[in-house]
Each structure stands twice: as structure tokens, then as C-alpha cells.
Subunit: 354 residues, 2 copies
């Protein structure tokens, strides 16, 4: 740290992304990426834009915004595109949370929420999960003006609230914004986008990183009431109006045009998730019932960290979190059937050798 | 504005990007883009990465960072890559400016500085330019811990401080960070990067948008002492660790490998700038001596706004700013020789028809 670093950020603990070691080729099941490449139309669209990079991108992302709005059945004014969904979440925290509207989120969830809060000097409260790692939706009713953020499905647990439970949270908090982070919604959960017309205090965020194979392009979005979205645009135009580059905007548009390809990939991942869940349970693991592209699992036979390290030594990366409540677990991204069979075979070997 | 927008941002006036009208094809001299496309190697590199977009980008941007460091003669730990140079500027404001270290910048400069300051609740002071629109470097000496931001060359004037003057500012402010925004440095000005080894309080920011024809890719960077850069990485990892996407990182790397092509383009733009300056002066314009890829010019024969509007009606976009002190002027991006000849012919016609 330099002696110039502002005191108000001196205690900031940055988010730690999943490791990307370069010492060898791994089966990479640690950052919830899709095992499927983008469709050919995406590559073609990005290539065309690469030839026009001397020109700024369209700060309104008009074609992509219109296409997305049409696909999700909302008005274009209900949509904001961002440099990954981290950016729309950060914008929402800046726009809607403050001392009088502190943040509230589950104690076990996406690790970025407390970091954004600290960066933006916003007080926050963490609500413990139930013993089974599920979110108790009743904890989030009638919070009177607080800003609620819920990842649904939640990470790294993979567990989900029902749409009725989400609606109850939104309905009983008319004076606070409710942000539903649906990064993983395309793998079997129900989206709250359908509620954004009905509730002016609801913001739904999603990403192209997982279900649409665009993690490396950085593209996220928010859908909400027009007034909420206008506020997010105000913040966007005050930080980085050209936040989405030309190639990514074109790639996103092409991906939406190829929606069937991506939805088929999601179904394949859900099948591979069922296979992985069953196989891990057959090996004695406890596996939370996931509606995402990962599973969260533990075994009584070895610690979470020991399993993570042994898998890494054998060329398979999964994600282990140090946090005490979940240190027994590993988060395993669902890849191709071949990758998951290799993973299960390796886990089986490791357990046998104990 | 929604009723949920935080009070502390309610007065925020976002930055207004240059217009991108779609009603007809314009000669676009309003956003300081390069008239030259990226080199073929850039397009190829971006295309290869487009096929791997299912994987997250490297949050360390290692290859690009190493290449850039080597080209600029600094250590990789002295470099940070960002989503456009707006992002590194925003990070620097967050990291180094606060109530005890208010921002200081010229009253006429890049319009984003006061917006970033307001967004981040940082007090700021604007120092008037001299009557000839130049920055008086003596105004920035010995400011005792304030955070100084100077665009050099300045925008929209195009005027420059010498390296000796910049060094004097950095040397006499050992307790404050001095940010030199060199977005336009490759068009004839001297860079302060050579001072970053000597002064721990100096941060230099640059962009690939202008001289390297990558405005639409969004790629900027900061170079400074290792401790300053470490602080900026802390902020980056607390907002958007994957801030630079795969395609853009690869495009930037390829652009650095093709440095000769881009430096030749800069020389061509400098020649076209000389042509444009001479031709405008021959038409009676006052033109500030620019070291950028634009000129700032006014005529006594009509108002800045009237000329801007008449040019737009005739298919040529330039940038007019409403601010009272510079409302007589227009900022004209330097394009190809053909574009500038068309511009001069049109201006000449407009003046004749008065």
C-alpha cells in the first residue's frame, strides 16, 4: 500500500477471483464457466466489429438492448447493459443504498456484495442462512427501506427461493429496492423478470457469462422498472458511458439470435449436473440440490481443503472457500459429460486411496 | 429519477458523450477517434479470442502488461490495464482523493473529472486557465497534499505543458498524488512516463483509443510507482477484477506488436493537423496550437454553435461545448487528408454564404 492510499479504503479486502494457474493444463471446474464455446455467429459478429475498433462503441447499446428487451418481454427502457453483471450490481449499490438504506444480504452468498459495500461506504447487514444452507425468505419481509440483495439461485450453495417467495419479499418492501442477482437462473430456476412490470422497487440482474458462454467478453444486464433503470444509466454515464465495447455488444446480440443453441447447452449442463450429483452421492457425498451450473458438496471422509488440493494435484480445479461455515465443502462447476466422468473417477480414486 | 435514487447522487450531472446520430452518414470529427482502422494483426488476435469467450479473461492481463511495460521501459508492477482510461482515472480518484486530499484540476479540461469527483463524494477545486487558454503550471506548485489532475495535452484546448513544468509540479507536491492524463500524448507531446521511476507520487494515464485505433475496444492504462499501482489494483479487484475482456486484451497486445503502423498513423495525423490549422487560419480562424488529434478553433464571423449546426446540416460533425468561456470555439478531430479537405471546403462555403 502506498502512503497516498485513502484512509477510508485502507481496510478494504478485495474479492479473490478463482485461480487461473498456468503451470499445467487443468480440467477447470472452479469458476462456473460454460464448457461450450460461443456459437459461430458470435465469433463472426465479434470479428466484424474488430475491424471497426477505431470507432467508439454505441453508449446506448441500442441493437442489443432492443433484442434483449424483446426476448425478455420488457420495454428497452427497462434494460441496462454493463461490463459484466458485477458492474450493474456495483451501479445498483451506488444508486440505491446509503446510510439510510443499508444493504441486507445472506451471510453466505456472492463474495462481492460486502466488497462493493465497503468500497462505496455503505453499511450492510448479513443474515445467516438456515441450517440447511437455504435462505429463509421470511427474514427479508418488511425491512422498511433497506436495500435487499439476494442471489437466486444463491452461490455457492446453488439453492433457490421460489418465485412466490421472491414476490413476497418485493411486495413487503415497497420503500426499498430489492435486487435479485440471477447470474445462474438459466439452469432451471424461475426468473423474477416477469415481476419487473408490477413492482417499481425490483431490479433483476443477469449475465451472459454462464449460460451464454461469454465470460471472457464481460457482458451483464439489469432489468427493472423504467425509473430504476434511468437511475442506473445516470450512474453509468457518470463513470464509463462506453462501458460495453463494440465486440462484446455484437457478440451479445449474436448470442441472443442463437438462443436455441445456448438453451440446449443449459439442458445438457442440467443433465450433467444430475449425473454428477447422483455419482457424488453414490460415493457418500452430501450434495446440495442445485439449480445452477455447479454443485456444492462435502464428504465426511476428508476435509474440503484436502480434497481440493488433491484434485488440483491430479489436474482438476474446483473452488474451495476458506469461510468457516462452508469450509467442509467444495464448489464444482458442471462441465461436459466427459469432464464430469473424469472428475468422478478421480474423486473415487482419491477416496479409495485414503 | 426514481424515488429510490440516493440523495447524495440526486444532483449528479452525468457526462455527455459526443453525439452519434443515425439519421445520415456523417464525416465524424466530433469524438477524437482515429480515422485509421486497427491493423490486420489486431483483428486476427481478437477473432482468435472470440472463439474462447466461454472462459474468463486473465484478471492480471499478464501478456499485455509485460509487453506494455517492456515498450515503455518500466516494470510490469508499474502498470495497470483498465476498461478505457476513464476507468483508471476513476480508480485513481477513489484511491487517492478524499476530504483531506481534494482534487485540483483546470477549470477547462476533460469534463469527466468533476463528474467522477461528485460520484465519489470528493471535494474539488477548479483553477482557471490563463487568458490564452494555457494551464499556468505555477498555480499547481506546492499545494501540500492535494490531488492534482492535469490532462497533458489538455482537452479541448490541445495545449501542452513541458515535461520540465510537469516535473516541477510533481516535485513540489510530494504529499499529494499528481495524475497526468496523457490521452493525447502520442501526437507530438512529451510523456511523463519517464518520471514515474523517480517520483512515487506520479501516476500517468494513457489510452489505446486515439493513437492506437481502439476506441471501440475500451482499453486504457496507468503507469506509476509500484505502490501507487498496487493501490489501484486493490480498487480494481474490489469492483471488477475481469475489467478487460479477452478480445480487447489480445487486440491491445497485437497493437503494441504493430507499434510502427500506429506511430506512422500519428505522424500522418500530425501532418493533417498542420494542413487543417493552416487552412483554418487562412480562412480567418483563430486556432490554438495543438499537440493532439484535434484542433480548437473559432471565427469572428459566426458563433461556435451556429458553425457547428451548419456543419452538421451539411454532414460534418464537430464538437461544440456549451460552457460560456469556450462557447465561441469548436473542437475538430483530425481525420484523413480527404476528410479535412472536405471539412475545409465546407467551412469555406459556409463563410462565403454568410
Amino acid at each position: 500500500m502506498s502512503r497516498f492510499f485513502t484512509k477510508r479504503l485502507a481496510k478494504l479486502t478485495p474479492y479473490t477471483p478463482g485461480e487461473q494457474p498456468r503451470d499445467m493444463q487443468y480440467i477447470k471446474l472452479n469458476t462456473n464457466e460454460s464448457p461450450f464455446p460461443p456459437s459461430p455467429a458470435v465469433i463472426q459478429a465479434a470479428t466484424i466489429e474488430a475491424g471497426r475498433l477505431q470507432l467508439y462503441s454505441d453508449p446506448t447499446c441500442r441493437e442489443l438492448t432492443d433484442k434483449l428487451a424483446s426476448l425478455y418481454g420488457v420495454a428497452p427502457e427497462q434494460v441496462i447493459l454493463t461490463n459484466g453483471s458485477d458492474e450493474v450490481l456495483n451501479f445498483a449499490f451506488m444508486a440505491f443504498a446509503d446510510e439510510d438504506h443499508p444493504l441486507v444480504f445472506p451471510a453466505i452468498t456472492y463474495g462481492f456484495y460486502p466488497v462493493f459495500a465497503e468500497l462505496n461506504r455503505i453499511p450492510y447487514e448479513e443474515i445467516p442462512l438456515k441450517a440447511d444452507f437455504s435462505v429463509n425468505y421470511r427474514d427479508y419481509l418488511n425491512l422498511g427501506g433497506k436495500t435487499i440483495v439476494i442471489a437466486n439461485p444463491n452461490a455457492p450453495t446453488g439453492l433457490c427461493l421460489t418465485l412466490a417467495e421472491i414476490e413476497e419479499i418485493v411486495r413487503t418492501n415497497p420503500d426499498g429496492v430489492v435486487v435479485i442477482d440471477e447470474a445462474y437462473v438459466d439452469f432451471g430456476a424461475e426468473s423474477a423478470v416477469t415481476l419487473t412490470d408490477k413492482y417499481e422497487n425490483l431490479l433483476v440482474t443477469q449475465t451472459f457469462s454462464k449460460s451464454r458462454s461469454l465470460a471472457g467478453a464481460r457482458l451483464g444486464f439489469g432489468i427493472g422498472g423504467k425509473a430504476l433503470i434511468a437511475d442506473l444509466h445516470t450512474v453509468r454515464y457518470s463513470t464509463n458511458p462506453y462501458n460495453v465495447n463494440r465486440m462484446t455488444a455484437a457478440a451479445g446480440y449474436a448470442a441472443l439470435c442463437d438462443n436455441d443453441y445456448y438453451m440446449q447447452n443449459c439442458r445438457t449442463i442440467m443433465e450433467n449436473r444430475a449425473y454428477t450429483t447422483d455419482a457424488l452421492r453414490a460415493l457418500g457425498f452430501e450434495v446440495l440440490p442445485s439449480l445452477t451450473n455447479f454443485v456444492f458438496a462435502k464428504t465426511d471422509k476428508m476435509s474440503g481443503e484436502a480434497l481440493y488440493l488433491e484434485l488440483k494435484r491430479r489436474g482438476i480445479l474446483v473452488r474451495h472457500f476458506g469461510k468457516a461455515e462452508i469450509t467442509d465443502y467444495n464448489r464444482i462447476t458442471i462441465g461436459t459429460r466427459e469432464q464430469m466422468e473424469a472428475f468422478i473417477a478421480t474423486v473415487s480414486d482419491i477416496l479409495k486411496e485414503l
